[in-house]
């Protein structure tokens, strides 16, 4: 029971938080709903005009594209980053030397500003960027790589067969034999290179434009644009580390006894992952997917930084649509931007609700 005076003290301590959330969330949200029902253009006195802004927004092809882009982006990115974060967390949960280094190294991308990472990616995927350069080099050095891989496989097969012929239990991917095979392959490739048998191919520079109006289509419907694919790769790269931390924390709480029991039953590592780790991590997974979906639906900064470097329709997301309709030269359709923002909020709410309802009702 609170004693007299304690309630007011509690409110006093809560006040900063309550005031901030009141102004920047409840008041702002109410204003947005109000503007979405008016003819507000930043400069006039708003006049209620009913749901016309919503009708305008839903009929706007750019909004439809933004909605499709956002949904595709959210589904693909959330899937990739959740799976990736889980696998990385499992890998980092082992007790090997230098684990602290690997954990920090893998965590680095998530503490770097997304604007900086976007600029780096923009540079990587330019027409004369590192990605195209690497592909050109790969094509030029193909004779060497193919020789290396060919000799590596041949040497490995030969070694394994030889071991087995002596009655020893050698696996196809035996690491010790693989090292020897690799050494042989490197030596053979180097000798062939020196003697002039192998040479660098003369290929034209690879000239793919990543930030252009190119789409991956299914049955004539444009599903995913190449610029968006670049952002998906980038976003996965930057968000995996954060989500990995949640999984790592979850992994620490799984009782070791379960794995011991699985070992006794003769489970393989894949079976242990699928039948012990994944089910035990369900509450964490729910959290990770929810955070991932909300984050990806709201994605804005990467698109804003790339800006006009790529055609607008290939990259526009709901958040960016809201932004472009608010900040124009002079009067702007702020009512449409507000309506789009409310639609975005509704979609996110529905997504989280559905997920709670169907994905994890028994785990949370």
């Amino acid at each position: 029971m609170l004693k007299k005076g304690q309630t007011s003290a509690a409110y006093l301590f809560l006040a900063p938080f309550l005031i901030t959330i009141g102004i920047f969330f409840f008041y702002a949200f109410a204003r947005a709903i109000y503007y979405s029902l008016t003819d507000f253009n930043l400069f006039n006195t708003p006049r209620l005009i009913g749901i016309k802004p919503y009708a305008d927004v839903l009929a706007d092809p750019l909004f439809q594209r933004a909605l499709a882009n956002s949904l595709v982006f959210a589904v693909i990115t959330t899937t990739l980053q959740t799976v990736g974060a889980l696998l990385m967390a499992v890998a980092l949960n082992n007790k090997i030397r230098g684990m602290a280094f690997f954990r920090s190294a893998w965590y680095m991308p998530s503490i770097t500003s997304s604007v900086v990472i976007t600029l780096i990616f923009l540079w990587l995927f330019q027409r004369r960027g590192v990605a195209n350069y690497a592909i050109t080099q790969w094509q030029a050095f193909l004779p060497y790589t193919l020789t290396l891989i060919g000799v590596l496989i041949a040497a490995q097969v030969a070694q394994v067969l030889w071991e087995r012929s002596r009655g020893l239990p050698a696996g196809w991917f035996d690491p010790a034999l693989a090292v020897v095979s690799l050494l042989i392959a490197v030596a053979v490739t180097a000798i062939l290179g020196w003697t002039g048998v192998l040479s660098v191919r003369d290929v034209a520079p690879y000239d793919f434009q990543y930030f252009s109006d190119r789409w991956i289509s299914l049955g004539g419907v444009q599903i995913l644009s190449i610029p968006m694919l670049v952002i998906i790769i980038q976003n996965t790269f930057t968000t995996i580390p954060t989500l990995m931390l949640f999984f790592l924390a979850g992994l620490q709480n799984i009782p070791g006894a379960l794995y011991e029991a699985a070992d006794i039953d003769g489970a393989t590592s894949a079976q242990k992952l699928l039948n012990v780790t994944v089910p035990m991590l369900r509450p964490v997974t729910f959290y990770v997917i929810t955070v991932g979906l909300i984050g990806t639906m709201k994605m804005f900064d990467q698109v804003a930084v790339i800006g006009s470097a790529a055609p607008q329709s290939t990259l526009i997301t709901l958040a960016y649509y809201v932004y472009t309709n608010t900040f124009k030269a002079g009067a702007a359709p702020v009512n449409m931007a507000a309506a789009a923002a409310i639609v975005l909020a509704a979609i996110i709410l529905v997504m989280v609700f559905l997920q709670r309802r169907f994905i994890s009702s028994d785990a949370v």
């Binding site: 400069f43 124009k328 009067a331």
Partner: protein, 409 residues
């Protein structure tokens, strides 16, 4: 005692009023402008206003100027005087934040076409501070090396194209004829030359008009066999950068390239010529790019703001701007200025920029009521064709579809 108190109070108030400084805040571009405008203010504005107790502060808006100005205007924090780009005027007129200058500023000394660019419904909302048009800026050494005649004012589309092709043929893979940015701002003048009008009587845009198509095909056709390249292919972000690199024979730019070349390629020998004429119509086209000075309708110091505006557009300020090689002044009287007769490449370019404004079909760089979104379908189509992803017919068809959606909104 009471009387004495009153008297001293009255004296204090009077002294306060007399020493009260009026501050006029000016919003303008970042980049080079803070240095230039700061210099203008110190040299011309401050001395003229010293006795009026008016101080002037320049507050540059970095980043997207239009966006920033809109936010400041909406919040009531914009300057008393600010730049308004000619192409986004309508958006600002719609805000009601631009003070109509009729009766506040005398606009007659300024070039009529520039006044027209800032006039809507009989009200003039800004005074052009200066203007620019497009010219062919060419690298003399490259033409000499290739033994090809320089571009000149009599060139037609065909003869110009032949010259570029000859340069490319003579100099091989490391050099290019022209650098073409995939932008309406660099292609539109060809469409004007062919007889295209950006807006019909109903305000609609037709990108499938034969005149537009012929200009589009000419512009994109220049990049056949790599005679012309996009700036991105040379790791540049505009064609001035291409010209500065010394690998490109021609850039289509305005007088702003002069200062850039002075700083970045001081040894480059260049000349300037007018945009080539269309073979059929015998006319050339050009854009007028202009930025005006406007007064905030919410200013508390209308009279002071008008004074500042008058000084900023005065003959001696415009003379200074012209001599710095920044832009071409908007006053009719300065057009016969001695500076245009100088033999420096910069002065020659200024002269060609000035001539460009009255030769052939010249239209303001202007997007209609939709604002900058209007040019996006055209830019996308240009980029798609110049990079070889789409045929010209497909790209234009899609651009027209997008234009219809935009204009029917």
């Amino acid at each position: 005692m009471k009387k004495a108190l009153f008297a001293s109070l009255a004296v204090l108030v009077a002294a306060g009023a007399a020493s009260a400084q009026t501050t006029i805040k000016i919003n303008g571009y970042g980049g080079q402008d803070p240095a230039i405008v700061g210099d203008l203010i110190n040299r011309f504005v401050k001395p003229a206003l010293a006795k009026d107790k008016i101080t002037v502060v320049y507050q540059p808006l970095q980043g997207d100027y239009n966006q920033q100005l809109t936010t400041l205007l909406a919040a009531g924090n914009a300057g008393d005087v600010f730049y308004v780009p000619g192409e986004t005027l309508d958006g600002y007129v719609a805000t009601g934040k631009l003070l109509p200058l009729n009766g506040v500023v005398n606009t007659t000394p300024f070039i009529k076409s520039l006044n027209d660019a800032f006039t809507r419904g009989g009200k003039t909302y800004a005074v052009a501070k200066d203007f620019n048009t497009l010219t062919l800026v060419y690298n003399k050494d490259i033409f000499d090396e290739a033994k090809v005649a320089y571009p000149n004012d009599n060139d037609t589309w065909t003869s110009f194209q032949n010259k570029l092709a000859a340069v490319k043929k003579a100099l091989g893979n490391d050099y290019y004829g022209a650098c073409l940015a995939p932008e309406y701002a660099r292609m539109g003048e060809f469409a004007f030359a062919a007889g295209w009008q950006p807006f019909d009587s109903k305000g609609k845009t037709n990108l499938l008009d034969p005149a537009f198509v012929s200009a589009f095909n000419y512009f994109t056709g220049l990049s056949k066999n790599k005679v012309a390249v996009q700036p991105s292919e040379l790791s540049q972000d505009w064609s001035g950068g291409c010209l500065g690199s010394g690998k490109v024979a021609v850039a289509i730019e305005g007088n702003w390239i002069v200062g850039f070349l002075k700083d970045n390629a001081p040894n480059l020998k260049y000349g300037s010529a007018l945009i080539p004429k269309n073979d059929k119509t015998g006319k050339r086209g050009n854009f007028v790019f202009t930025v005006g000075w406007a007064i905030n309708s919410g200013t508390k110091n209308k009279a002071a703001a008008a004074k500042v505006l008058n000084i900023l557009t005065s003959p001696n300020v415009q003379q200074y701007v012209l001599e710095q090689g920044l832009a071409i002044p908007s006053r009719t009287s300065l057009q016969s200025n001695a500076f245009f007769k100088k033999a420096t490449p910069g002065a020659e370019n200024s002269k060609v920029v000035f001539q460009g404004a009255s030769s052939g079909t010249v239209r303001p760089y202007y997007f209609g009521t939709q604002g900058p979104d209007w040019a996006k379908p055209i830019n996308t189509a240009l980029a798609a064709v110049l990079s070889g992803q789409k045929s010209s017919a497909d790209a234009l068809k899609q651009a027209q579809q997008e234009m219809n959606i935009l204009q029917n909104r």
